[in-house]
């Protein structure tokens, strides 16, 4: 059996599944239930500075998009950081950490962007015995209007500055949580790195409006007829999060910096994908909020079976395995030629591949052969784009087959070269540099 134990920047947990800073980690009651269910760690719901707690709206705070059977695909929220008293939270954190010494308890913090505020809160958190802190530079609504959250996370200089203060005033490991509401995620990651952060975590939620009520013309969620953009999370954001994690993992300046992967993790498979792209562990929010804490059992057994099947002995063996395979477009092999193949045994004749290719792609699939409804790929037209595979409702009915080097590509009328060649040396590229392809 593979070893699922995780050591993330020195913070140990029995498994790499943490709950992200959010309602599931807002108080001891929830966190204790999570630990009983088997979660490896939590990032406590973000604490603010001492004083009157923030207030939340008293109407709905969530919007959502669903699949047909109301499967929750994306959630958005306009909740702020914890609205409970700082000292109540600190006392609970202390108690929970004492009662659950083998679990990771990290405390998320967001205070105004000045040295005094950070200097004031850090000792209070450290006193709880928590394992580390996470700097919430991500919250995209409400707090950002007050110069915190993503308002900080969007300015790399601020990120670096705050990280530096934290490293200066606490001995706890510092995880910097990044906002995805930025054009190039590498910039704040590099800044956090420069400030000396121990790790970054990402993504926080994405600015979004999930829906507009077409009777009242209010955005959802509607507070007395008006709405505001909220933070988007859940399965829908996973592809965005995966890319951002990968960008940081393969960036020359931040390569090797520990990453806690967040964003749409719903199953063990999602978690392993994040890890393969460089995340040392994952954090989960929406999936737990949708199904309850029990899902961690599925994640644990799924991860364990996967590692066993692959012959990996520990989680660390997966971390970063896919990173070398993430590259720039210019380095993709242009001599890799594929054609779609439709398995006639499996084909149910829905015709979706035909109409997709016919209307929107390359007119490469028949709909009729000898007067019979039949869908066959015309190699002389197929560019190998794979659209048909994605619209086909039958798994594995359409597959992409590689035309090996030396064989004829019916579309171009040329034999497929049997060597790797990319855009950097392509004759159509006015900027083509060298004879030998780079990378």
């Amino acid at each position: 059996m593979a070893d699922l134990r995780s050591n993330f920047v020195g913070i140990k947990s029995p498994n790499p599944f943490w709950l992200a800073s959010a309602p599931p980690t807002d108080k001891a009651y929830n966190v204790v239930r999570a630990f009983k269910a088997g979660w490896g760690g939590v990032v406590w719901k973000t604490l603010g500075e001492e004083g009157p707690p923030v207030v939340n709206v008293n109407g709905p705070r969530y919007g959502a998009i669903w699949g047909a059977d109301r499967r929750l695909l994306g959630l958005n929220n306009i909740e702020l950081i914890t609205d409970r008293d700082l000292f109540v939270n600190l006392a609970e954190i202390k108690q929970v950490k004492r009662d659950w010494p083998d679990r990771a308890v990290v405390v998320s913090i967001m205070v105004p962007c000045d040295e005094e505020s950070w200097k004031a809160i850090l000792p209070l958190v450290e006193e709880t015995g928590a394992d580390g802190i996470e700097l919430n530079f991500g919250c995209p609504h409400g707090m950002s209007e007050r110069g915190m959250g993503s308002a900080v996370g969007q300015v790399p200089e601020y990120v670096e500055m705050v990280v530096r203060w934290c490293k200066q005033y606490t001995r706890m490991p510092v995880i910097t949580k990044l906002t995805p509401n930025i054009a190039d995620i590498r910039k704040p990651a590099r800044a956090a790195h420069a400030g000396g952060t121990d790790a970054v975590s990402l993504i926080n939620t994405i600015n979004s409006i999930t829906a507009v009520n077409l009777d009242t013309f209010s955005p959802e969620p509607s507070i007395d007829g008006r709405g505001t953009h909220g933070g988007y999370c859940g399965p829908a954001v996973k592809p965005i999060a995966l890319n951002m994690v990968a960008e940081i993992a393969r960036d020359a300046q931040t390569r090797g910096m520990p990453i806690s992967g967040i964003g749409g993790v719903t199953t063990w498979r999602d978690a392993v994908e994040f890890m393969a792209l460089g995340a040392g562990n994952v954090q989960v929010c929406t999936a737990a909020m949708t199904y309850g804490f029990k899902i961690v059992e599925e994640m644990i057994t799924g991860l364990s079976n996967y590692l066993d099947e692959k012959g990996f002995s520990s989680v660390d063996e997966v971390v970063g395995r896919a990173v070398p395979n993430v590259t720039d477009w210019q380095y993709l092999n242009l001599n890799y030629v594929t054609k779609a193949r439709i398995n006639q045994e499996l084909c149910i004749s829905c015709g979706r591949c035909h109409i997709a290719c016919e209307d929107t792609s390359h007119q490469a699939i028949t709909n009729m052969i000898d007067g019979k409804r039949m869908f066959v790929v015309k190699d002389e037209e197929c560019v190998g784009c794979n659209l048909c595979v994605n619209v086909c409702p039958v798994e594995d009915c359409i597959t992409m087959e590689q035309i090996p080097g030396g064989m004829m590509d019916e579309r171009t009328g040329h034999r497929v070269p049997d060597h790797y060649a990319n855009w950097t040396t392509h004759p159509n590229n006015p900027m083509a540099k060298a004879k030998e392809p780079a990378e």
Binding site: G67, A68, D69, C350, G351, R352, N367, P393
Partner: protein, 453 residues
């Protein structure tokens, strides 16, 4: 269990009072909005969809389903009504298992087609409940058309003619309009007086007058109609029934008559049914009769069919429906004599049959089944007598009215469609709708001097 359950002979009130409502409720529960959207999402929106080709009225099924999926049931209903103004009834009565749903690619993929019929019902129910009328009459043309028969064929024809701005008068021999929708379809397929609601919905377009209690051949004649109107459409269905050609036949009842009575009964507990019932036949009517006898509380109901299972006109789905209701289906049995004593049915004598060189023949061995009631459900016939007295005769073919590809009879200005004609179409509600609609287009072209006029 009600007292009447084991009453011998033919008796009413075999079930507890509340059991009737339960037994005769919807065969398929209507979808809720959410159920409909989930089911609609199963549709693959096929290219050149096979279901659409399989539908006799060629409804754009993928489109109407997509409109349901996108929470646009009213738009969906219009897509349906554009091709089939009786889409509501068809959603309830079509043997979808041999039409659209048989062709569904998900049937090929997993043996579980998209439930097209139930989705169609969902959309049409919404539109009818909201009273949305999609069609306006074109400017009046001044043309008047007589339609004989207010069944699916006649109603579909009338609606399409009204759309084109013509004035339509429908004559029907019965007391109520609707044809077999009102008098023939199994009660659990058309609940809550849907047939009348649909007639009202269809005629709400205006320009259609229905005169019930007016029979062609009795109160009106073809000759007179041809004189008074610019065109005539005959959608009279099948008024007669086939003969058993066995002894004691008069003691047997006609399934269609009994079903008509059942459909019109205000109080089903007052409708007498035998304790032991035998139904002769192998089609949809036989199944409907047998199942409804069972639902009325008959203890033992047996369908006897003179050929094997594979020859039955009732689809496998309907045979299963009968079996699930507790009906026994026996094959290779041909009726010889309906047995009576003191004027009451006591049983039926049947002879075993087999195919000899492709010809059905008796084996000589016979069987007697005890029965209190014997129903004939061996097919209906067209009563050509109604057409008599019109001077020029309308040509027949195989006992029904001969028509060309556009529904034109041999008599100028007279069209026909539905069960009463000899054409390639099956005797189904949806086929009658298609025939009526297409004849209306042909009539319109003829009257308005269109290209094919």
């Amino acid at each position: 269990m009600a007292q009447g359950q084991f009453l011998t002979g033919i008796a009413a009130g075999r079930l507890a009072a509340d059991q009737y409502a339960e037994n005769f409720s919807d065969l398929h529960e209507p979808f809720s909005g959410h159920e409909a959207r989930v089911e609609a999402d199963r549709c693959y929106f096929c290219y050149d969809a096979p279901c659409m080709t399989a539908c006799p009225t060629a409804i754009d099924i993928p489109m109407f389903i997509r409109q349901i999926a996108t929470d646009n049931p009213v738009g969906s209903a219009k897509t349906i009504f554009d091709q089939n103004i009786l889409g509501g009834m068809c959603a309830r009565v079509c043997p979808t298992e041999t039409l659209c749903e048989e062709a569904c690619v998900r049937e090929a993929a997993e043996g579980k087609p998209v439930q097209i019929g139930r989705l169609q019902r969902y959309a049409t129910d919404v539109a009818i409940a909201e009273g949305v009328q999609f069609y306006e009459r074109a400017a009046p043309t001044g043309k008047r058309i007589a339609v004989v028969g207010a069944g699916p064929a006649g109603l579909a024809c009338a609606h399409r003619l009204a759309m084109h701005g013509h004035e339509v008068t429908i004559f029907d021999a019965r007391e109520k309009a609707g044809g077999l929708n009102e008098y023939g379809i199994a009660a659990y397929k058309s609940t809550q007086d849907f047939a009348q609601a649909e007639v009202d919905y269809v005629t709400a377009i205006g320009g259609i007058t229905i005169e019930t209690g007016k029979a062609l051949g009795r109160d009106i004649s073809i000759g007179q109609l041809s004189e008074d109107f610019d065109a005539v459409f005959l959608g009279m269905g099948l008024g007669g029934v086939n003969a058993l050609r066995s002894e004691g036949e008069t003691a047997a009842s006609n399934a269609v008559d009994y079903i008509a009575e059942l459909r019109q009964a205000r109080d089903l507990s007052a409708l007498p049914i035998g304790r032991r019932v035998v139904v002769i036949g192998g089609g949809m009517t036989a199944v409907d009769m047998a199942v409804q006898a069972k639902l009325l509380g008959a203890e033992e109901v047996t369908i006897c069919y003179r050929r094997g299972k594979e020859y039955m006109n009732a689809s496998l789905y309907e045979q299963d429906l009968a079996a699930a209701a507790g009906v026994a289906i026996r094959h290779w049995l041909s009726p010889k004599a309906v047995l009576t004593a003191d004027g009451k049915v006591t049983g039926i004598e049947l002879e075993y049959t087999r195919l000899e060189n492709g010809v059905l023949a008796g084996t000589g061995e016979s069987l007697t089944l005890p029965a209190d009631q014997v129903f004939k459900a061996i097919g209906q016939t067209f009563l050509a007598a109604a057409l008599n007295g019109s001077g020029a005769a309308i040509e027949m073919e195989g006992g029904r009215i001969r028509v060309d590809g556009e529904g034109r009879t041999s008599m100028p200005g007279v069209w026909a469609g539905g069960d009463c004609v000899a054409d390639a179409r099956e005797d189904l509600t949806v086929a009658a709708v298609a025939a009526g609609r297409d004849a209306a287009e042909s009539i319109n072209r003829a009257l308005m001097g269109g290209a094919n006029g």
